[in-house]
Symmetry: C2
Subunit: 614 residues, 2 copies
Amino acid sequence: MPAPLVKESAVDVLVIGAGPAGLMAANALGRAGVNVRIIDKRPKKVAAGQADGIQPRIVEVFHSYGLGERLLREGCRLHMAAFYNPGPDGGIELTSRTRNISAATARFPFAMTLNQGAIESIFLDSMQEMDIDVDRPIVPSYLEISSSEVELKNPQSHAVKVLVLQHLGSEQEVEETEIVKAKYVIGADGAHSWVRKQFAITMDGEHTDYVWGVVDIIPDTDFPDIRNRCAIHSNNGSCMIIPREGDLVRLYLQLTDENLKMVTNPVTGKPDISLCNTEQLMEVAKKTFYPYRIDADGEIGWWTLYIIGQRVASQFSVDERVFIAGDACHTHSPKAGQGMNASMNDTHNLAWKLSHVLRGWADPSLLKTYEYERRRYAQDLINFDKIFARLFSNKPKTKDNVNGVTHEEFVEAFSKAGGFTSGIGIHYNESVLVNPTYQSLATKLIVGERMPPQPIIRVADSWPFELQDLLPADTRFKVLFFTGDYLEPVQREKVLALAESMSQPESFLQKFTPKGARSSDVFDLITIAASRKEEITYNDFPKILRPHWSRIYTDDIDFSGKFGGKAYASFGIDPQGAIIVVRPDQYVGMISPLDKVSELDDYFSSFMTRSVNL
Amino acid sequence: MPAPLVKESAVDVLVIGAGPAGLMAANALGRAGVNVRIIDKRPKKVAAGQADGIQPRIVEVFHSYGLGERLLREGCRLHMAAFYNPGPDGGIELTSRTRNISAATARFPFAMTLNQGAIESIFLDSMQEMDIDVDRPIVPSYLEISSSEVELKNPQSHAVKVLVLQHLGSEQEVEETEIVKAKYVIGADGAHSWVRKQFAITMDGEHTDYVWGVVDIIPDTDFPDIRNRCAIHSNNGSCMIIPREGDLVRLYLQLTDENLKMVTNPVTGKPDISLCNTEQLMEVAKKTFYPYRIDADGEIGWWTLYIIGQRVASQFSVDERVFIAGDACHTHSPKAGQGMNASMNDTHNLAWKLSHVLRGWADPSLLKTYEYERRRYAQDLINFDKIFARLFSNKPKTKDNVNGVTHEEFVEAFSKAGGFTSGIGIHYNESVLVNPTYQSLATKLIVGERMPPQPIIRVADSWPFELQDLLPADTRFKVLFFTGDYLEPVQREKVLALAESMSQPESFLQKFTPKGARSSDVFDLITIAASRKEEITYNDFPKILRPHWSRIYTDDIDFSGKFGGKAYASFGIDPQGAIIVVRPDQYVGMISPLDKVSELDDYFSSFMTRSVNL
């Protein structure tokens, strides 16, 4: 073996692991103009199988990065859920059908499936446009955070050193050693996270006794709900059907009794994938589906076996310099389709904060909110998962099994969980970023939750826009001025006064705009009036609110009569108006009265730093 | 000059001219798998300016080729129309604002603008995927149609010979002469069409006296409707404002009085572009906009001068072997934004017919319907244009000009023309392709007009689909079975009988499916029931109606409560059901009772040929 070469390099953010969490991070940071590098130990990206559940909120998030159209085009949509239970003769029968997603404000009111490889390709293609590739195969071997307080305090210092080994070319024996000096490191390196282990961060929680087989098939079947999301409780075990792209269907099959015995290693007492095969899984499927017929059409491309584990990392960050994200900090059952979503939402939450700190716009303490917000969410997720996994893995209630799960119990849990499983109801608690003081000014717009979709009309040209499309993940805070009816003199006066305050040097708009930059680089001001589109005129509004003609909107119905006119009502904002601050990740950060710009000054002062040179 | 080389080549369809009409033809034929070649005499494609109006129907057409998303993403949308007239002090003032597009069934209820170069790029990129490039610069120099009756009768004969000259490389002197033998030729070579001249086809109609300047600017203005489509009638001439991509705006400025004199060549008495410049046009704009201020921000990229001519070619085809399309067969004023749309719709109409004839599926006489349908439309367009151009070019009615055009007169014409200018109301008269016998079975679905949009629900997975998306431009006839409520025994019986008839050898489905092909290669059968989505099951339907699980739909409201449930009502189909045949270009071809498959047999027999080997 030749002597290893040692080289040194520096980067602002090093992302370890190119799964969905890592790629979301690298893409988001790249878009924000951050100097980012992403490495992965695998020589190639994953092809098929693995995670595939896409929840409504993550579709909104993809949209905010300009990646939603492709996701919608490529993915399979799950609108209907069907429930099967044992009939009088023991075989399964349809109990009921209902909508799959119950979250009322979901912009895309369906769940989706798309294999992890396709999701990763969406990010990889987006990153390609920014000339960011995944460096692979690169294996990290040593990591160290500086112990110098001076260094740790300065976000511009390369306070983390990571030693990595790169296998060169096809000759796996030739290794190159490199020291990567990074300002920040994100460990998105999966359930067996190497980064997590460097700091001996524990995973709190436990394994369950539930063992499941998963198999992707093109079904040959007379089962009528094979293209719906199905929960089958049979006397031979439970099954979840998840339709996928094209004609593909994923079956989650519970292994019980002799099937469970068959896959259990007699020495370890643990399930052993080498004792399982597709014939066995399809036998289980046939018994579960009886009296319906089910076979696999053609070869089975992907299958696996797993035990549900429900655990959360005890910390998500070390010194706010090294972060872990995705499977590295939470594992749970795959059947609720949460894993990939939770992982991508972790780094969606982290990326913009890192960008702000690295630009010197925000105080490094902002980074504490990552663990605060995402660990709490992960715990909620695990708690939900425990209930759901138990209900689903337990036998149905029958004459012979009076302690089993009733259909009503299951469907109620299924529906109640809608806000949660859809990702729509995710709530971040009060912090510097989440200030619910004036919650009452927008009663239906929950501070700490994501901004719901709502069509509004652009004043200059009456073009209806989806409000969420005006809130892209571009690292800017969006300040929405709900002015009320601008044709009312009282409201107009308020707006003029507001414009006057915002032009003062102590206003957030001036104070937190770096020298040499335009305020629109940091803050996107969006005005939403409540006047008839035929009557108001965009250039009647104060100049500070319209750096461009496109910034003035109104809450009115569009010409098709289908969209708009419900923003104030849906958000619970009364005619006196209000100001809504939306975070760069689309979460509502705070609400203020229309005539109290000082509230915005206070909010931004709590985490932003006074203007620095760009 | 070196001696010219002569080579020979053969192609099924030769398209001459790579503007919008030619590119639509080449792209559509390429998608249909036809051996097509497209040539253009210009060394490069047009960059900016020229045609840019995109009407609602053409957006639907682009969607049918899978190109609509990009068009919608890149184009500017015009929702609002504003009308200005002289106020009491002589300057213009806002008279009213109204919706720009009034066609009730438009799927995309707005006009659009996108420059011709961008439109062409959409086609070119689509063609690239099929390895079809525009051969350029290639100049046709001689064209001859065979005089052999035997050859002319056989659609597979290369009955047209075209001699073309290609300039090789950068050395313009080196020419290569080529004889292209084509089965069919499409002359999409513009207003001065060389192809048209080879057959001395006359253009019937006349020039008007109206002279207009056109200029693309980024405006610096206090005019409040600069981002709306505006019709300004001022005492200093009329102006049409057409907002465009980004901040660009196109102004159509009427030249009158001394401005008209200034651009008139004293010798010829005709307008002369060399006598005009941007300063003059901006002066006209300033007078027209008074009391509003208007200037161009930065340099003016494109401008021109034109006289309205309104003419239609006396024939659109020669021996159904050579066709002319687009500007080659109709010219009219650009302000109604019709030109590019009419041109693309010409070849959209022609391409599928050529595909069917070339495959041996249809009798060559089908090609007669191209001139029949499109020439009539062009005449209607010119008639409309005459009225619109007169109303718009004439002075407004004032105290001093009592014979002028009133605002009411203009707005009425504007609104009435909505169906026409949107492209939605285009109607093809009765022919082998348009059979209105059973019009009363679907009272609101006009035979000879395009199939309106309508959301329907896919039964297998409750996925809501836009019906138009199920009618792509894939050259197949779509047969829509509106079965009524399939849970009703009477309707179910009809459907079973229908399935039985269609399996008979004399049924259209068997008779016109070429040997060795599947019937779904020629006909796409789509079933649309009227049952609740929670209650019906896709695999209850006869197998012949579902070669794939995705072919069964129902008219029900989706889970969002926003889409669907109105198909039968909107189309005027009663619970007894009906069968609707939709042509490959999305026009309704015929309607039949649900229990009279023989009507379909007769319809298809009138132009299709009995199955041949593929």
